[in-house]
């Protein structure tokens, strides 16, 4: 009797581990829809819902998924010629290049930090710390953009600074 009890309770988990990714995604969406926290135990989150619930797919958005991936690679690729150009010219002669480089660098850094947050502090498992870090990063990036703009406008600019410090 006891064994059948344990068998029944672990059956949804067995299905979950067999189905893999789609089920964990479904559970994440269901948890969000149910607006309750998923309790995490070693072995995986406790899934809500039954095996007969349909899979929910995330709706397409230009901010996520393959659009985000493509934009990230395009940005990283564009940094290569910009850095090379910044090496050979000076920041004062081409302020537009300097500004573009600063903006691209900040965006590249933001996407990198965001990937680290998503990898290590995902909001599915860290329902409080994850969003806090995400919004801290966003506000920090806004501050950095303003700071870079101020520095490039009122002072000599990033490439010039690095060149001067390097040969100081």
């Amino acid at each position: 009797m006891a064994s059948s009890m344990i068998l029944r309770s672990t059956l949804p988990r067995t299905f979950a581990s067999a189905a893999g990714r789609s089920n964990s995604l479904r559970s994440a969406l269901q948890v969000r829809a149910a607006s309750s926290t998923t309790q995490y135990v070693p072995g995986g989150p406790i899934l809500k819902g039954t095996v007969n619930d349909p899979t929910e797919f995330p709706h397409p958005s230009r901010m996520h998924g393959s659009y985000h991936w493509a934009f990230e690679r395009f940005l990283a690729a564009s940094l290569v010629p910009m850095t090379a150009a910044a090496f050979v010219t000076s920041g004062s002669s081409y302020p537009v290049l300097d500004g573009l480089l600063g903006l691209s660098l900040v965006m590249h850094s933001h996407i990198g930090f965001d990937s680290m947050i998503v990898d290590y502090v995902h909001k599915r498992k860290f329902s409080v710390l994850g969003p806090i870090l995400t919004w801290t990063l966003r506000s920090a990036t806004v501050g950095v953009l303003i700071g870079v703009y101020q520095f490039n406008t009122n002072d000599i600019g990033l490439t010039e600074l690095i060149a001067k410090v390097w040969t100081a």
Binding site: G43, R73, H108, A140, G143, V148
Partner: protein
């Protein structure tokens, strides 16, 4: 059917090792009357709670600490670490300039660096150039993967060694500049 928490290990052992003839009577008497066992009625849904409470107490085997160091994952985490460090430097300086623009003017910074002893200047250049060049060359390696090239194990390793060589050469070039 309700699951019950019953502690009957010693009782069942005694029943099991008793002679066959009297076993049933001993079982009936000992289980029901003699022991005064505490039985707690639980609904079927409680079994998952008990299971998860047990799982939380279980240790986990070493995994991350025993993985053999390999060029693949070492270069990957090094790419992330160098990128994070350089970005933290950029963010730190920009935010510092935002809150205290008069302290962190370029003139102040250049003067401060010029006043340092030579060995500190070379160390500082090394600490800045090595992560930057590694992240740059490994970034190119990563972009080639994104285009579908060098995705085999041989290709990834050859590109990885090329990245290490290019990092060493360009770091030396930058430090001596």
């Amino acid at each position: 059917m309700m699951s019950a928490r019953i502690g009957l290990g010693s009782v069942t052992r005694r029943v099991a090792f008793a002679p066959v003839i009297g076993r049933n009577q001993i079982a009936l008497r000992t289980l029901i009357l003699k022991r005064g066992v505490q039985i707690q009625s639980l609904p079927p849904s409680a079994s998952e709670e008990i299971l998860n409470a047990q799982r939380l107490k279980r240790p986990s085997s070493p995994h991350f600490t025993i993985y053999q160091p390999q060029l693949t994952w070492l270069s990957s985490i090094a790419n992330r670490a160098t990128g994070g460090a350089l970005s933290a430097l950029l963010y730190g300086f920009s935010l510092a300039y935002l809150v205290a623009p008069d302290t962190f003017t370029s003139v102040n910074i250049v003067e401060f660096v010029a006043g340092l002893p030579d060995y500190l200047k070379y160390t500082g250049k090394l600490i800045l150039a090595a992560p930057f060049t590694f992240h740059f060359w490994n970034g190119l390696r990563h972009l080639s993967w994104d285009m579908g090239k060098l995705l085999s194990l041989k290709g990834a390793y050859r590109a990885g060694y090329a990245v290490l060589g290019a990092t060493a050469i360009s770091t030396v070039a930058l430090v001596l500049m």
